[in-house]
């Protein structure tokens, strides 16, 4: 990362939060997928959205990128009210599925997303591919890559425009422990350079790598704080136990 890229966005928005949500509600039919979520996430940190499958993590991310419209409430990211097509140029979004074109090569995929984000020049593409260790696979067809390599290409495509805000939806699902360690090293590197990162996961042992955790259950944020704080709040050393205890009342009302 060039140090100039991320902080420039941060300085434009002053000390304001990277993400701000007021009373977000998203209803699908009879289901309240997101149930009155209000948030303020300061920039430059790694946030973990933790919760079981179907708890609303992906929907919350889609609301915070403007990809989904809230039923009520409002959100703003990097100081810009959503939805905004312009702010998307400063957001990276690595989806749960790889979301890359399997018939294109590694280089063609990266070039395509760079162009979609309005990035000019080869430098950014080379850097992104180097960061995920795919610079030497430029001409490989993406569909022939291993699952882990596809995941890495997917990450490269999400950071090719050096976004100051990065959403990673279950980035480490289905990848081996070694790659997982590498991924977290990348995330930390990006955060140190000033980026705000939101990682969703249902794997509790990843939680301690985040600066701050948000427990999500049935579309609500049921607890928030560092790993130590939520453990203390729940009175247990085990995060999984903490999640169950803190979410107990929400689960009971379902």
């Amino acid at each position: 990362m060039e140090p100039a890229a991320a902080p420039s966005a941060a300085s434009v928005n002053g000390a304001g939060p990277a993400i701000r949500a007021d009373d977000l509600v998203k209803v699908f039919g009879a289901i309240r997928a997101i149930d009155d979520v209000s948030l303020e996430l300061p920039s430059g940190r790694i946030y973990g959205f933790l919760g079981p499958n179907g708890s609303g993590k992906t929907t919350l991310i889609r609301l915070l990128t403007g990809l989904a419209r809230p039923t009520s409430g409002r959100a703003e990211v990097l100081g810009v009210p959503l939805p905004s097509r312009e702010v998307l140029a400063r957001i990276g979004y690595m989806t749960q599925s790889d979301g890359i074109y399997p018939t294109l090569t590694v280089g063609e995929n990266a070039r395509f997303f760079a162009a979609a984000y309005g990035v000019r020049g080869k430098e950014a593409i080379r850097e992104a591919l180097e960061l995920v260790d795919l610079a030497d696979r430029l001409d490989s067809i993406a569909g022939t890559l291993s699952g882990g390599q596809r995941r890495r290409l997917s990450l490269a495509c999400a950071i090719v425009h050096r976004p100051p805000l990065l959403f990673l939806d279950e980035p480490t699902v289905g990848i081996d422990p070694l790659l997982r360690v590498e991924f977290w090293a990348h995330f930390r590197e990006l955060a140190d350079a000033g980026a705000t990162i939101v990682v969703s996961s249902h794997v509790m042992d990843e939680a301690d790598r985040c600066d701050e955790l948000l427990f999500i259950r049935s579309g609500k944020v049921i607890a928030r704080g560092s790993g130590r704080e939520v453990r203390a709040q729940a009175g247990t050393d085990d995060l999984e136990q903490a999640f169950l205890r803190l979410g107990g009342d929400v689960g009971a009302t379902r």
Binding site: A89, I91, Y93, T95, D98, G99, A116, Y117
Partner: protein
Amino acid sequence: MSGRRTVAIFRRVVQEIRRDRRSVALLFVVPIVMTGLVTFIVREGQAPEVDAVVVNDAGPVGIVVTNALDTALATEGGSATIVADTAAAEAMIGDGTATVAITLPAGLGGGDSPTITILTDGLDPAGEANQVAAVGRALVTAAAGATGANPPTIEHTTLYGVPSDDPMAPFAPAILGFLAYFFVYILTGISFLRERTGGTLERLMATPVARGEVVAGYTLGFGLFATIQVALLLAWGLGTVEVPEIGPLPAFSLGLGLPIAGSPLLAFLVVVVAALGAVSLGIFLSTFARTELQVVQFIPIVIVPQFLLSGVLFPVSSLPDVLQPFVLIMPLTYAVDGLRQVIVAGADLATPALQLDLVVLAGVAILFAAVAALTIRRDVA
């Protein structure tokens, strides 16, 4: 071979198909609707409405025959009127105010079997054959009643080209238009569906790319391939290349060499504009599909009716009145008519009928592109 496992698989297949409402509709509803439609077209296909102009060289007998003809044609909403000369009749055929022009010869009413010529424009050979047959029957009765002479012989000529010069000529415009439209629709539909289901559209929507840019990019991309396809198809259909004798190979000619009266470039333009409409149609319909099979399932619903109602298979003029409004809303109708105007009638850009076809096709392409753009952000999950 285990009976229980076979039964398990049988049950699963039945369950799967039952849950898939499109497949159920395709199996049970669509064939009934289709056979009904075809039967309706063929059975209720109306006696064509014929507006005849008569060049009367037969004197008073001709006037009697014309009046009898007028009465006969009026039962289907048509008419027969006398005009001054052949030039006036041809002009009226050319601008579409009359469907057939009849020349009654001087010898009508004499002892010999007279020859009556019927002129049509030649754009819609199958439809005109029906009209000529209808007029012929009416004429024979009218002439026999008026003169008591031997029944006349009917001779059919067309304004543009000889009717049966090349047996493929009547079908060529329709087939060219249909094929281009069909393949572009299938390809765009499936590849855009991949974009939707492969997660790349979600990803793309998370970039500053606008929906209009997506549709425009697709239109350009598939438009390029459609253009090449159409160019090849037209070159193959209309061209003939004489390949000289090479070594042991005898000389032969390549290409179907179908006759074309107008400019091949204009024919090309008509098909390309139609194909661009098919690109947006493919994007639009991919919204309603979850799998590639479902894109294919739209063929009987979207493509077959166009095939039946746009004059590819049945002449538009012979379709029942109830179906005429549907004929007018099928984009392919205008592609087929535009191609006939160019290939058979030699129309140029100044021809009002061709102008209308091109304007409608371009309008349809733009309309569907706008609708396709609207479908993109919705339901991307």
